[in-house]
Amino acid sequence: MRIELRGVSKSYGAVRALDSVDLDLSHGITGLLGPNGAGKTTLMRILATLLSPSAGSVRVEGLDPSKPRDRLELRRRLGYLPQDLGLYPRFTVFEFVDYLAILKELDERRDRHRRVRAALAAVGLEDVARRKIKTLSGGMARRVGIAQALVADPSLLVLDEPTAGLDPQQRARFRELLASLGEGRQVVLSTHLVEDVAAICTSVVVLWGGRVAFHGTPQDLRERAAGRVWSTAEPSPGALTSWRTETGAYRVVGDRPAGDAAELPPTVEDGYLLLTSGLGEPVHA
């Protein structure tokens, strides 16, 4: 599945959430990184056909979401997890996912129920299928949201903050799941957690002030910090950022600190920090 965005802008009154975004995404898992207000959720909602851009064009596998027929076709191929996920508290877990499966035109009951059970098993909720949603923890509710996104076996998955509220074990399991889902389909996920992107994404997009500040692989982002990550015994006031690690030494990102400093292998997070620190404050036109 190929996603093309050309000059996509989106404004809410005087606030420009997206500003002339050009992107080409193909098979694999794309992570959207950026601070709050960078335009991640707006971009996700445009991809999920919930918002129309104020300017520019969007094509998903050649389909134009601004055309009703294409939008319908796109929704048939789409699984979407919104950031502000709302569920029906009086439904059971099974009922809710089943309900969304019906809305995704899975009419044949036996097949639909099989898919619901598979989706719940994929997110580890098969044991609570009969529980009311109002009795679930936040993490479990999030997993219900992921299950509904998966239930119709979509070729495009748009996941807005999928790991928010998940505990470390659940996040690890979700990464495994997502890695397997990424084969043969397009997954776009937004997150604040750089380690998620580093772990599973095949490409990264960094949004800053509504613009694309970076688009490449996680390795590319990591390489941006090559030769700029150090270990020192003392804090380095001039560094972009530094913090004390569990060994007692300081990890410094930026120019080589004064005194003894050993170069460290960079991480994706180091690359992200370096990238965004050089961009200044986000500006919303």
Binding site: L50, P68, L72, L78, L85, L100, L103, K104, D107
Partner: protein, 480 residues
Amino acid sequence: MTTLARFEARKVLRNPLLWLGAALLFAFGVGNAVSYWPSIPADGEYVHEGLVVLAPFALLVGALLGLRDRTSRAESVLASTPLVARGLVVPARMAALALASVGVCALVFAATALTSFARGGHGYPDVFFVLDAGLYVALAACGGFAIGYVSGSRILSLLAAPILPGMVFYRQGSQSGSIADPSWLLPSPRLPGRFGPLGYLPDIFPVHALYLAGGILALIGIVWVRAGRRESSSAARPGLVATVAGSVVFLAAGGWLAVQPREVHVFGPEPADWVEIHTEADYRRLGRARRDASPDAGRVLATACVETGGIGACVFPEYGTRLAIALAENAAPLAEFASLDGVPQSIRMVPTADHTGIEDCAQGDDLLVGSQRWSVEFQEYEPVAERGFYCAVYGRRQLVNPAANALHAWFAARVTRDHTGREFVRAVRQGWGRRAAEAVGHLADVPVADVVDRLEPIWDDVRTRDASLADLRRALGAPG
């Protein structure tokens, strides 16, 4: 869409609010019918009168469904689905609501009919009547959905639940009586005249059901257009078609209903024998023209007959012989007066109701009972026997005669259980004076067989209003 509608209907049917309303309606219907059993033709009417109990619950259930996406913040996750893109979620939900409401309502009618049947009833279903009641509840549910969906306000929905059905109920009970009275246009109209096997007259329910169905379709269409327009004009188009089609049906049926008469009085089985009442003037004209006419003009329609205790009773076959037996048993005290001229020894049901200005007294040897009136009232305050004796002593002229008054009062005291003899004598004294009370009191002291023997010489005078209280007292051998 069908799958979604089925799913939603199942959810609606699991809503305890709807079943609470249904249980209250059932209790209302059965509770109302208890004192009238076997009130065969009226079972459904008791439920119909109680629809005001179920409608608010249906409206609330609809409103909660209309609000569901908004209150749960699930709009985003639903909005990305193909069925929403096709604009089908709202009509599917409203259709589910309508079907579930009709189903629940029909179930309450069936449960009430079964309960009545177990108590000796022998009713016959009026499909359109039941359908119409169900559609009213469906309209309430769909109206609730529209309020919840469009306003998004829980408070408004909660307020609308009792207020809107309450307004219909109030309007139903406060008809103006003028020809412009729009009571047939109410979603739950006042009941037309009931004529047992002849059905409702004017028979509005088939068209009224169509009227409601058109209204529901139009309402669904309007909300459908609103929901579909968010997606595309093509998603809204079927809603527009539904709105137009529903409105046409609604207006056409409403136009027909608006010109229907307020009442139809039946003087025979053929429509040519029926008289429509549109205005008060029609009513007065009918009263003058039919003052002494027999309501069934010699036609014999009551063919389910029994004889018990010397009294025969014939009712319409649709009522079953159970009602005939009940009528004959109720009239049994008349058998002791068989030797007196004009005391009916048989009862015959005729196709008319009350409020016609026609006395349903004896025609020949028969006491005539109207199908509506007697089916619901005879067990309560006006026993058939008392009515028969009344007809015998007063005839059709109803001229005041103290001797007849005393005899009627005495007989009424015997066959009703509303008063003790002492209370009754006191009431007669207050109403008709001391001498009438003494006569009644004396009658009560004489065995019935002796009363009949002693009445025979003056009976014709009593009926022609020539006998005085003194004549009566003398005939009974009262002192003074």
